[in-house]
Amino acid sequence: MHKILRDVGNAVAKFGAVTLFFARVLMQIPRVLLRPSLVIYQVHNAGALSLVIIMTCGLFVGMVLGLQGYDMLARFGSESALGSGAALALLKELGPVITSLLFAGRAGTALASEIGLMRVTDQLVAMDVMAVDPFRRVVAPRFIGGVIAMPLLTMIFIAVGIFGVQLIGVQQLGVDQGTFWSQMRGSVQVHDVWEGVIKGCVFGVACSLIAVYEGYTAEPTAEGVGRATTRTVVTSAVLTLFLDYIITALML
C-alpha cells in the first residue's frame, strides 16, 4: 500500500518536474532566438538529417496504403474513393503519428544521448562554472530545433505518402488519375490539413521536451544515458498516441 502511494507520488512529482523544466525552457526562448545560428544548427540536426528516413518511410506507408486501400475498396466497387480515403488517413492520422514515432527514434534519441553524454562528461557543470547557462546554450536550442523540424517533417511525410499512394493506385493498379485527384479534392478540406499541422506541432513539442528532459536529467553513468535514451523513445511513443486521441477528440 505504501509502495503504491509512493509510486503515485513519484509519478506526480515527475510530471511536475517535467512541467517546471518546460517552463524553464520556455523562458529561455526569447533569448535563444537572438542567436539563431544555434537554432539553425539544431533544425539541421533534428530535421534535415531525418529527411531520408522520413521520406523513405513516407513512400512505403503510402504504397502500402495504396495497395491495401485498393484491395479493400475494390470489394465494394468503389476504387474511386482511394484518393480521398488515403489522403484523409495520411493527413489526419498516419502522417503525424508515424512521423512522430520516427522522430522520437531518430532525433529524440540523438538529443537525449547527446545531452546525457554532456552530463556524464561534466560539460554541463563546466558551463555552469563558466557562467554559461546550459539551458540557454544546450537545452533550449535543441528543443526549439525539434519543435520547428517536426511539423515540417510531417508535411513532407504526408506529401511523399500521397505520392506513394498515387504511384501504386494510379500508375500500377489503374485507378483513373482524374477521379483520384478530384475525389481527393472533393473530400479533403483545408481544415484537415491544419489538423495534420497542429498534430505535428504538438507532437514536436512533446517529443522534443521528453528528449531534452531525459537527457538533461540522465544519471551521469554510461548505463544512465542508455536508460535515458530508452525512456525517451518509450515515453514519446506513448505520449504521442495519447495526445493523438485527445487532439482528434478536440478537433472532430
Partner: protein, 166 residues
C-alpha cells in the same frame, strides 16, 4: 566556415522543402482550387430538381470518360431548381446541343458525377449553352422507397395504382 555554410544551406533547403510540401497539400489535395483546371475549354449549364450529394469538382463524363468538371452548384429561387455549371475540356468540342445530362453515382460508395449522353443534333454546344434535353436528377433513396411503398400499398388494397401514386 565552409562547414557552417553547408549546414545553413541544407537546413534552408529542408525548411523550404517542408513549406513546399505544405503548399502542395493545401493547394493540390484540398478543394481550394487555384489553377487546377486546364486553361481553355468552355462551360455548360444544366438545371436539376435535385442534385443529391453532387459536389463542386465532380467529374462530368461521357460514356464513362471524363470530359470535364463541375464548376459551381447554386440554387436558383426563381425557377426552384439547382443550377449546375460545368467546365468542359477544350478537346471535347463536338457535344451535340440536344444531349442529355444525368446525375449518377459511381459504385456503391463512390461520389456522384454528371453523365452526359450524346444526342443526335448536328449543332454542337458552345460556351455558356444550357442543356435542353432530359436532365435526370440524382436518385434519392427515400424517394425510391416511398414510391415502392406507395405501389405496394396500392396493390394490396386493391385500388388502382394511379390513385395511390398521389
Amino acid at each position: 566556415m565552409q562547414k557552417s555554410h553547408a549546414t545553413e544551406f541544407v537546413t534552408g533547403a529542408f525548411v523550404l522543402f517542408g513549406f513546399a510540401s505544405l503548399f502542395f497539400l493545401v493547394t493540390q489535395i484540398t478543394n481550394k482550387d487555384f489553377s487546377v483546371m486546364g486553361s481553355g475549354g468552355y462551360s455548360l449549364v444544366a438545371k436539376f430538381e435535385n442534385v443529391g450529394s453532387l459536389k463542386v469538382g465532380a467529374p462530368v463524363s461521357m460514356s464513362g470518360v471524363n470530359v470535364g468538371r463541375v464548376e459551381s452548384i447554386v440554387y436558383d429561387q426563381n425557377i426552384y431548381k439547382a443550377v449546375v455549371h460545368m467546365h468542359i475540356n477544350p478537346q471535347f468540342d463536338k457535344i451535340p446541343n440536344d444531349s442529355d445530362a444525368a446525375i449518377m453515382t459511381a459504385g456503391l460508395l463512390g461520389g456522384q458525377y454528371i453523365s452526359v449522353s450524346a444526342g443526335g443534333s448536328e449543332q454542337y454546344f458552345k460556351n455558356g449553352d444550357k442543356f435542353v434535353g432530359v436532365q435526370q436528377d440524382a436518385i434519392v433513396l427515400e424517394n425510391l422507397i416511398n414510391k415502392f411503398m406507395a405501389n405496394m400499398a396500392g396493390k394490396s388494397s386493391g385500388e388502382s395504382s394511379s390513385k395511390s401514386d398521389k
